[in-house]
């Protein structure tokens, strides 16, 4: 634990101390200029990494925010008396607001559509900077002078220190933010927006916040850019720059402050690398050697597909051969950059730093941070009274899709403390019913009431917050997060620190508490030992159990389990039944959709059977199993042939 802290924090400290000391040794103004640029790009790329790395969306608007921030700062210092500090506050604020405005429409989008929306924004921003001549002086460019900082004129070296100080502050604030509930929510959003909503976290505000934050940092970098170059042109902030920035993040390594920094270094130094032919040849030869070694290793160990191993070799070989043939490497700047990136994206998808940190962690045997002892379960999930009063009531609920009446007038009551089974053949409307109650679909008509008051309609988040949690038939885990983090994301009632406190690092105590609480829930479902395993690496059974632990983190009054035993092997089915029993003992009311009749018989107090979207029978498990309409729904019209049809054998899977 101490070793980890020392190494990780020590490396960061060493980086910033040496960066701060460098200008004392390096006197050349050119080198100082490069270092300043490095700090500016560092801030810019950390901002970009929020959307690209954590939200997992391709964001092509960062160059636009750099430009908008730069022009805002230039206009503020030129036309108002607010000076440097004012500009450094206003430029990020403007970009924060613009980012939030862009995120509002873009928020409904995923993947390519999001990329296109941000691409259009960049083009639009360039047009505006060019055309609003009265404000920006258009294509002829905007000249400004660097204002003094609180009365001190800033020389090149002072300005560099200012940029570095800001980079360090941004670094620390982002580390605090990304290791908090916010960072987990950003990643959860990337893996499963539906589950993020269903866990009451809310995709909406987190997506907007993440994008606005990244854009705000773009604005801050823009202000520094303006004071560094003291001359701005709209052409500097076009598509080409946005692509290079994006690629810098990917090359350095996503979801990593170090990665953003390495990416910034590459972006800032690339022109120099290319102007020196010998250096370029050495560099590309090194790249080829790495690609060959990594490719051969990947092929032998079968961790890579052939294309993944071969393509980077072809790309780097092209670089080496190109370096011998081409006269002026700088002309081929973009192609070289493209080839480098291609090799990294294909062969090293986690980026340079992602690879390096994993490698170093193995080499230095850095242990992951220790877990706190689990909280007592009574503190996390206080027992609720199982008084048998009506808790959840559906009144004539309908959901039609065009002519298909998936749910057609279902009324039922679920009593507090009960396990209420919901059965029916495939296509009988069980899942649609659950989707309507949990807010994924808006009902065509009818209402659902929780303790007599209407549940929100058509909003997963609001239903989750009202006290109804659910699991998913087709697992919707946050695959990139660990088991513990999956539960921590959904945990309610723990996170209270407002955002500014989180940025300052004052949210750590409640994060420790959340860790302990989440661990208690993992232990409840028997996953205490798997807390650090990424959800995608858990066994299928464990993933089903984790879904339940995560839903429990909502501390729900009603827990809807959508086929929790589907696809489980028999030993896991037994475990699952035991888990559901334990949850029921805490007084949590459960609605259970299940096809395994033995599971239903063992667990349920009341069973409702659906067919064709309508309720056909209700009663104890045994009553419902013997109900003629239920038998007809499952087996077809048996009619007169058997007046007393045998009930399905216990353990038989009816579907």
């Amino acid at each position: 634990m101490l070793k980890r802290l020392l190494l990780v924090r020590g490396a960061e400290l060493l980086l910033f101390v040496s960066l701060a000391a460098l200008p004392l040794a390096v006197r050349s103004p050119y080198a100082l200029g490069l270092l300043t640029l490095l700090a500016i790009y560092g801030i810019l790329l950390i901002g970009l990494d929020v959307t690209v790395g954590y939200l997992g969306q391709v964001n092509l608007a960062q160059a636009a925010f750099l430009g908008l921030g730069a022009y805002t700062a230039a206009i503020v210092v030129t036309h108002s008396g607010l000076g440097l500090v004012g500009a450094l506050v206003i430029a990020p604020s403007v970009c924060f607001v613009l980012g939030a405005l862009l995120a509002l429409p873009a928020l409904r989008l995923e993947g390519p559509q999001f990329a296109l929306a941000t691409l259009s924004f960049t083009a639009l921003a360039t047009t505006a900077l060019n055309e609003l001549e009265w404000l920006t002086q258009g294509a002829q460019g905007f000249s400004l002078s660097r204002p003094p900082l609180l009365g001190h004129a800033l020389g090149a070296r002072d300005f560099y220190w200012l940029c570095m100080a800001l980079l360090a502050m941004v670094w620390i604030a982002m580390r605090n933010l990304l290791s908090s509930q916010w960072g987990r929510a950003f990643e959860a959003l990337r893996d499963s927006p539906i589950a993020t909503d269903a866990m009451g976290v809310g995709t909406y505000r987190h997506k907007v916040a993440a994008f606005a934050f990244g854009s705000g940092l773009g604005g801050l970098a823009g202000a520094l850019y303006a004071f560094n170059f003291q001359y701005l042109q709209p052409q500097s902030f076009v598509y080409e720059l946005t692509v290079i920035l994006l690629l810098g993040v990917v090359l350095g390594g996503r979801k990593s402050l170090w990665g953003a920094f390495v990416g910034a270094t590459l972006v800032a130094l690339l022109p120099n690398l290319l102007s020196n032919r010998t250096l370029f040849q050495a560099f590309s030869a090194l790249g080829l050697a790495v690609a060959l070694a990594a490719g051969a290793r990947g092929l032998v160990r079968r961790t890579m597909r052939p294309f993944q191993a071969i393509a980077p070799v072809v790309a780097t070989l092209t670089l080496v051969l190109g370096g011998l043939v081409v006269e002026n490497t700088e002309d081929w700047r973009k192609a070289i950059f493209a080839l480098m990136l291609f090799s990294v994206v294909v062969g090293l998808p986690e980026g340079l730093m992602g690879f390096a940190t994993r490698f170093l962690a193995q080499l230095l045997r850095i242990a992951p941070p220790t877990l706190p002892p689990a909280s007592p379960l009574d503190a996390v999930l206080p027992a609720r009274p199982a008084d048998g009063a009506v808790l959840l009531e559906l009144r004539d609920l309908r959901r039609h899709f065009g002519g298909v009446k998936a749910v057609d007038g279902v009324s039922l009551s679920v009593r507090a403390g009960h396990v209420h089974g919901l059965i029916g053949p495939n296509g009988s409307g069980k899942s649609t019913l659950v989707n309507v109650v949990s807010g994924l679909y808006t009902p065509t008509s009818g209402v659902a009431l929780l303790r007599g008051s209407a549940l929100p309609q058509g909003s997963l988040v609001r239903v989750a917050r009202a006290g109804v949690a659910r699991t998913f038939q087709n697992l919707q885990l946050f695959t990139g997060l660990t088991a513990l983090e999956n539960v921590m994301v959904a945990l309610t009632g723990v996170y209270r620190a407002p955002l500014p406190f989180v940025l300052l690092g004052l949210g750590r105590a409640e994060d420790r508490r959340a860790r302990a609480d989440a661990l208690a829930l993992l232990e409840l479902v028997g996953l205490g030992d798997e807390a650090r395993t990424p959800a995608k690496d858990l066994t299928y059974g464990a993933q089903r159990f984790l879904e339940i632990a995560r839903a429990l983190a909502r501390k729900p009054e009603v827990l809807i389990l959508d086929e929790p035993a589907a696809g489980l092997a028999h030993p896991d089915v037994v475990k699952q039944v035991e888990i559901i029993r334990r949850i029921r003992q805490r007084g949590v009311t459960i609605v259970l959709i299940e096809h395994h009749m033995d599971v239903v018989t063992q667990l349920c107090d009341v069973v409702t059977a659906l067919d064709g979207g309508k309720l056909i029978a209700e009663g104890t498990p045994d009553e419902v199993k013997r109900h003629p309409k239920v038998i007809e729904a499952y087996l077809g019209n048996v009619g007169d042939v058997a007046t007393e049809p045998a009930p399905p054998a216990a353990g038989a899977r009816i579907s």
């Binding site: 429409p105 690629l247 081929w332």
Partner: protein, 292 residues
């Protein structure tokens, strides 16, 4: 402002808009089979145009260059599929967005160095003297664009509907896994869609070059508008792109006249962001029901 001049501008713009529609159609083709689009499509348009220009410079006739250019485009489409798309699709990731951008950057840089940074004229046998119909002036060149666009789109749609290969294409579009189970190779269908998309891009390049000239940046504005058209119409809207393309073309000509030529690109961009905000599946697209 007399109505006839407004009509003149709207019609010229709408004819130009058909080129946007054609490039947008190329996005639709690949989106249908693989839910992916080539973010470097503009570079395919440009590189194919340069390639065709080189053949013309070598003395080949326009009518020989045309099929050669289209074949070249198809080959480029296949390169994009192999290098940038297939791996990401196999891994079910969105890595293709980045990889197609990277490939586009590479093509751009290569074109800049091979053919130079200057804009060059593209000779064509089609006359450019305008004639008068229904009160507006139209050039045969503009008409050739319209005819070429509609003919190729019609032909591809006909193939999709009438041939077995086309049925396979449609089947994979609807449900990739079910198609595979029926013995259709989804991989080949995706390859076919990228080849067709490349062909369409090459045609757009050859048709539009005589009007805009050929240069490394010739397609960057075009493709941005094609994105707008594809998204506003919906990435699965079929002929919807034609209507939206013509509408956008007319709109931007009028916008550049009334607001200022620098704002020419603005309507398309605003329209795209609005469309995404209001109806992400597009005006003519089908809204999907979320399933879990």
């Amino acid at each position: 402002m007399p109505a006839s001049i407004v009509a003149q501008m709207a019609i010229s713009g709408a004819l130009m808009g058909l080129v946007y529609a054609l490039i947008a159609y190329g996005f639709q083709l690949t989106y249908a089979t693989s839910k992916s689009i080539n973010f470097g499509q503009g570079e395919l348009v440009m590189v194919s145009a340069f390639f065709s220009l080189t053949l013309l410079d070598l003395g080949l006739s326009y009518w020989l260059v045309l099929p050669a250019g289209l074949l070249f485009g198809a080959a480029l489409g296949l390169v994009v599929e192999r290098a940038a798309v297939r791996l990401a699709l196999e891994q079910k990731s969105e890595g293709w967005i980045l990889l197609t951008i990277i490939l586009g950057l590479f093509f751009f840089s290569a074109a800049e160095n091979i053919w130079g940074r200057d804009d060059r004229p593209f000779p064509t046998p089609i006359p450019s003297e305008s004639f008068h119909v229904f009160g507006v002036d139209v050039t045969p060149l503009e008409l050739s664009v319209a005819v070429g666009v509609l003919a190729v789109m019609g032909l591809i749609e006909l193939l999709k509907r009438k041939t077995l290969l086309g049925k396979a294409f449609e089947a994979v579009s609807v449900d990739r896994d079910a198609g595979e189970l029926m013995g259709i190779s989804a991989k080949r269908t995706v390859m076919l869609s990228y080849a067709l998309s490349g062909t369409v891009a090459a045609l757009a390049g050859i048709l539009v070059s005589p009007i805009t000239t050929v240069g490394p940046t010739m397609a960057s504005a075009l493709v941005l508008k094609a994105f707008s058209v594809a998204v506003v119409a919906g990435l699965d809207s079929g002929f919807g792109v034609v209507l939206v393309g013509m509408f956008l073309g007319a709109l931007e000509t009028l916008a550049s006249f009334y607001v200022g030529s620098g704002w020419r690109e603005a309507p398309g961009l605003v329209l795209l962001i609005l469309a995404l905000a209001v109806r992400p599946t597009g005006v003519f697209g089908k809204a999907a029901i979320r399933k879990v």
